[in-house]
């Protein structure tokens, strides 16, 4: 019983072998040479068409992907820069700061080289001079931050050497400090006082310049101020300076920026309203 299917399979395998042998003994039909050539020619053109199609697809975007994406990025940044004046201003300020201040790495580099001791000397001198100046000239002056003095000194040195390359700054600073160090002890006090005065005056000039810059910025219509109080103060200054045209323009800007000033319940309403009346009545 169990051998019956196996015998059946063996029989069939024998049959398969026999017929297979007979089948492959006969001459087997083959496609004609023309038919072969036609199909192979089609295959060649098929490859050509596929390759051409892929090239055509690539030619538009894929081949210039980097260039196009770079151009798009530049356009985007430029567009943002043009459309956003505040960003322009910030970037401009940053650039100015970067130009006037040496980078932190530069400072660190200075501190790690031989010059730090030389470099520290004017800072310490400046701090001493500052304290002397505070005590001797102006009792109301607040003590200065060492870092800020340091920065001022660096900027002063770099300002005086703007035409020089970065490499020449260090020797000149060293020269300056060595000059300071070599000064006679009798003259130290006088020189310190002089230095303190110079520092104070330069700092004052910088502050005035910053105020002027921000003031000019506000005249152009850009309000950087975050509070209505400051805007109102600016407006008062303009009115006090009798710059009525500028004040009027600024008033419109303030009105748009701080509409709450037109609210009678606002604490600054009276002052603002008074100025508005003054400007509109003219």
């Amino acid at each position: 019983m169990m051998n019956k299917p196996q015998d059946h399979d063996a029989e069939f395998t024998a049959l398969q072998t026999e017929i297979n042998d007979t089948y492959h003994q006969q001459p087997l039909e083959q496609p004609s040479a023309e038919l072969d050539e036609a199909i192979l020619a089609r295959a060649r053109s098929g490859v050509y068409v596929t390759q051409t199609a892929s090239l055509a697809k690539k030619s538009i975007w894929q081949r210039n992907a980097w260039g196009l994406s770079s151009a798009a990025s530049v356009l985007l940044v430029a567009g943002l820069f043009i459309l956003s004046p505040s960003l322009q201003k910030h970037l401009g300020t940053d650039l100015e700061q970067n130009l006037s201040e040496p980078p932190a790495s530069f400072k660190q580099l200075k501190s790690t080289t031989d010059s730090p001791q030389v470099f520290e000397t004017p800072v310490e001198d400046a701090t001493a001079a500052e304290s002397i100046a505070v005590q001797g000239l102006s009792m109301s002056s607040a003590p200065m931050n060492n870092e800020r003095i340091n920065r001022d000194v660096i900027s002063e040195v770099s300002d005086s050497n703007q035409s020089d390359s970065n490499g020449s700054v260090e020797p000149q600073m060293a020269d300056k400090s060595s000059t300071l160090m070599s000064a006679a002890p009798a003259n130290i006090k006088a020189q310190a006082q002089k230095k303190a005065l110079e520092l104070q005056s330069s700092r004052h000039a910088k502050e005035v310049q910053q105020v002027k810059q921000s003031f000019n910025g506000s005249l152009k219509g850009d309000i950087e101020l975050d509070t209505a109080d400051a805007a109102l103060d600016r407006l008062k200054v303009l009115v006090a300076d009798n710059k009525m045209m500028q004040a009027e323009r600024y008033m419109i800007t303030v009105d748009q920026r701080f509409p709450e000033l037109s609210d009678p319940s606002h604490p600054l309403y009276d002052q603002y309203h008074k100025i508005v009346l003054q400007l509109t009545s003219q």
């Binding site: 399979d9 069939f12 395998t13 049959l15 398969q16 072998t17 026999e18 017929i19 297979n20 007979t22 089948y23 003994q25 006969q26 001459p27 087997l28 039909e29 083959q30 496609p31 038919l35 072969d36 036609a38 199909i39 192979l40 089609r42 295959a43 060649r44 098929g46 490859v47 596929t50 390759q51 199609a53």
Partner: protein, 214 residues
Amino acid sequence: MVPTLIQSKDAQSKDALPKDDILVPQAGSDEQLMLDYQAGDISAFEVLYRKHKGPLYRYFVRQLHDQQLAEDLYQDTWGKVINASSQYQVSAKFTTWLYKIAHNLLIDHVRAVKPLDKVVPLGEDATMDSLQADAQASPEPQIEQQQQADMMKGCIAKLPAMQKEAFLLNIEMGMTAAMISDIANVTLEATKSRIRYAYQSIKQCISNQLQETT
């Protein structure tokens, strides 16, 4: 090499792979040749074509009485392969894919429009015991080998369409029943039956013809 009809379990499971699975083709395999052609290597296609042209040609010629139609469908099959080469992925054996295209073309262009065979179709379980040898098909007995070959050709031509297709795929390409069932989209058991009956019918037909000639 004798094609094996009854597959091992491994072979069955291999053929039963999901169609979306990507197979890794071996170097020099049909699948790799197709990928090479996809990459622009025309010589790969030529190798592939030379390997499959005979069996595929006979697949059509022996199933159709119309030589021109057979050649047209043969050309269409290769045309489809060429057109589909750009999107070709190794998700099945190349031969399975090729003969599926051929089978579908046969179904679309012939069976739906014209009768495939002028032979009265037999049932699945029918054999050719009841059939008489075709007088026109029996050649003059000049050479015994030629005689047998012609007899076989005549007997294959008498097979029912379903059996003929299964037989040709098995004997020409050595395809297993599982592969044939995948191509013809029928069950494995039905395919096995078709192949078995086809061989038995041909044997019987040849025996009948030999008896008649003697």
